[in-house]
């Protein structure tokens, strides 16, 4: 293998890992925000599926991927509102409610697809964004700067969310109600409003993750996400509820998937071990979770409904 070919393969592997990490990153950022406010949402995958179908169908009708993104986000926001009503107003058990949302999304996205589309039909995917100067750089250009806009949005959200969580009053409120809602309430912070906003934004990001997946692939089919939403929830624990940690977790997961794919392509991993190798990203994530879980503490009020004076 010549040096230039080896470099090309490394570049392709890293670029692939970044693409694979993107939907996980968007969904886990949203879930991290909700969990920091004390609300667990196990329905991320269902929200992603509905966002994916909404975006896919919109692009199919309009041929405009940006409209698709907007619809995907909007669907997520609406489900967030609904999930907030269930968990905050009705105080339903969060684990069970989340599974309900997942099953709803899984079933409805398939039903809508069968009803309104039928056979898979390709849509216009996002084209790589040509960033002046940077995309032309040797090696790094192709690796980091020839992705679609959604990749930059996802990674751009990491510093933005860090800033919001750690440098703004709103972020302080979210962290406070996730740890001690009684104390936050006594200081005049509206627990209900803050949690509502975190859930709505979090689900909006899950909808965006689904939309990004469908538009990036240029197709929709039954259960398109293939349980990505559940991996995203695990990545929140992996990333210790911090945007940077979640980003690292998503990148590790995506990169391992990509490296395994390349190794299989070049026969480094024999075909007899192919199925075992496919489990590598999940195994590594679980191992990391075991290590991380001992070092970091989850938000104290996570999954606990807040009742003033209760």
């Amino acid at each position: 293998m010549s040096d230039s070919f080896a470099v090309m393969i490394v570049v392709a592997t890293i670029a692939s890992g970044i693409r694979l990490a993107t939907p996980f990153l968007l969904a886990s950022l949203g879930e991290a925000l909700g969990q920091r406010s004390g609300v667990l949402n196990l329905g991320v995958d269902g929200v992603m599926l509905l966002g994916a179908f909404g975006a896919y169908y919109t692009v199919l009708q309009t041929s405009n991927p940006y409209y698709g993104l907007l619809v995907g986000i909007s669907i997520g926001l609406l489900i967030g509102l609904f999930y907030g009503f269930i968990t905050l107003n009705l105080r339903a058990e969060q684990g069970v409610s989340g599974i309900g949302i997942y099953l709803f999304g899984l079933g409805m996205s398939d039903l809508f697809f069968q009803k309104f589309v039928g056979t898979p039909r390709p849509i216009l995917p996002f084209m790589p964004l040509d960033i002046p100067v940077l995309s032309g750089l040797p090696v790094v250009g192709e690796m980091l700067f020839q992705h679609s806009i959604i990749v930059y949005i996802a990674f751009g959200l990491v510093p933005l969310m860090s800033f919001v969580l750690h440098r703004t009053t709103y972020g302080l409120n979210i962290r406070a109600i996730g740890e001690n809602p009684e104390a936050a309430d006594s200081l005049g912070v509206s627990v209900m409003a803050t949690r509502y906003s975190a859930i709505i934004i979090g689900n909006g990001l899950a909808g965006l993750a689904g939309a990004a997946l469908a538009i990036e692939l240029g197709i929709f089919q039954q259960n398109l996400t293939n349980a990505m939403g559940f991996i995203a929830i695990a990545l929140v624990y992996f990333g210790a509820w911090s945007p940077k940690g979640v980003m690292i977790g998503s990148l590790v997961f995506g990169m391992v998937q990509s490296i395994v794919l390349q190794c299989k392509t070049f026969g480094v991993i024999p075909r007899s071990a192919s199925d075992l190798a496919a489990m590598a990203p999940a195994v590594i994530t679980i191992l990391a979770l075991v290590i991380v879980a001992k070092r970091f503490k989850q938000p104290s009020a996570l999954t606990k409904p807040y009742v003033r004076g209760g």
């Binding site: 392709a12 692939s16 069968q114 898979p120 990505m228 998937q257 496919a278």
Partner: protein, 324 residues
């Protein structure tokens, strides 16, 4: 007159008993259920069996029920048992992963005929038939054409898990490519999933980065790989169903399953009182497998001819695909 009527009735009754295939014509449609892992319009594995039954419905009255999307085997098992309880005449478990469930369920319903595939095992049960596609044959033909049209000398395959007709197709494809060009780089990537569309897309991109300029793949998740091939304008060979409409600009040809060929045999056997214990297969020779070319794709001279030659060779036995 009364005597004549009695005689006529006796003759009719005897005819019906001797020739049970006349029975459905008396009004009661045959009840057939299909349980399949992916969507019934997936342009791949599940759609192929649904299309097969629908083709038979043109000639015969069939009451068809479909439970699709049963990636979870336990869900499929529940559906199989439910259809058997409801007294369906034929229950088709369309997925090699359903074999274990069928082995347990079929003995509880000796009057119901079951069929499952793609597989070659009837478990020694008298009411279970199995069916298989000689997808290695179509794979071989596709491999020959892929190698003939590759300019870079590299072809790539995106597979799910190394089992069933997916393995047959992939092995046949590699064999055909190497038969056409012994120096061809034929790389295979089993992604370990039948449903991970995103991973299939990245596997296709990995092949392209590794120098493949012609791709193929099998199972439901290949819609992602086709999208990736389409974005890079890399030629694609399809299988299981005609995939041309997914990307008319890159799909060269598709191996299409015509399950109606063996379904007709199964129904004919059922008409004669045989509920199972037999194995059936579709192949190029019995026209259960056909190669559909995309007329809009402009092939280089000699490519289609190489494919047609391979088809003729497989049919007359002069070409072996390496399977069996």
């Amino acid at each position: 007159m009364k005597k004549f009527s009695l005689s006529l009735s006796a003759v009719m009754l005897t005819l019906l008993l001797l020739c049970p295939s006349l029975l459905p014509a008396s009004g009661k449609p045959l009840r057939v259920a299909i349980i399949a892992p992916s969507a019934q319009n997936d342009l791949a594995f599940t759609q192929s069996i649904v299309d097969g039954i629908k083709a038979i419905q043109k000639d015969r009255e069939i009451d068809l029920a479909i439970t699709d999307g049963t990636f979870v085997v336990e869900d499929a098992a529940a559906a199989i048992r439910d259809y058997a309880k409801k007294g369906y005449d034929l229950v088709i478990a369309h997925g090699s992963q359903y074999g274990g469930s069928l082995k347990e369920i079929a003995p509880d319903f000796p009057d119901i005929a079951f069929a499952w595939g793609t597989a070659a095992d009837t478990f020694g049960l008298p009411n279970v038939s199995s069916y298989e596609a000689a997808s290695d044959e179509g794979g071989y033909v596709m491999g020959v054409m892929a190698a003939a049209m590759s300019k870079k000398g590299g072809v790539g395959v995106v597979g799910p898990i190394e089992v069933g007709d997916a393995k047959l197709y992939v092995d046949g494809f590699v064999q055909g490519a190497k038969a056409q060009n012994s120096k061809i780089r034929a790389k295979v990537n089993y992604i370990g999933s039948f449903s991970d569309v995103a991973l299939a897309a990245e596997a296709a991109r990995a092949h392209i980065a590794a120098g493949a300029d012609v791709l193929t793949g099998t199972a439901q998740m290949v819609v992602g790989a086709i999208g990736a091939a389409r974005s890079k304008r890399v030629a694609w060979f399809g299988t299981q169903a005609n995939q041309t409409e997914l990307a008319p600009e890159i799909v060269v040809a598709s191996q299409v399953y015509k399950w109606e060929v063996i379904l007709k045999q199964i129904l004919a056997d059922m008409d004669n009182g045989v509920k199972g214990g037999k194995m059936y297969d579709i192949n190029l020779a019995n026209n259960g497998i056909v190669i559909k070319f995309n007329d809009a794709y402009k092939l280089a001279p000699g490519v289609k001819e190489a494919g047609m030659k391979a088809i003729a060779g497989i049919k007359d036995g002069s070409i072996k695909t390496g399977h069996k």
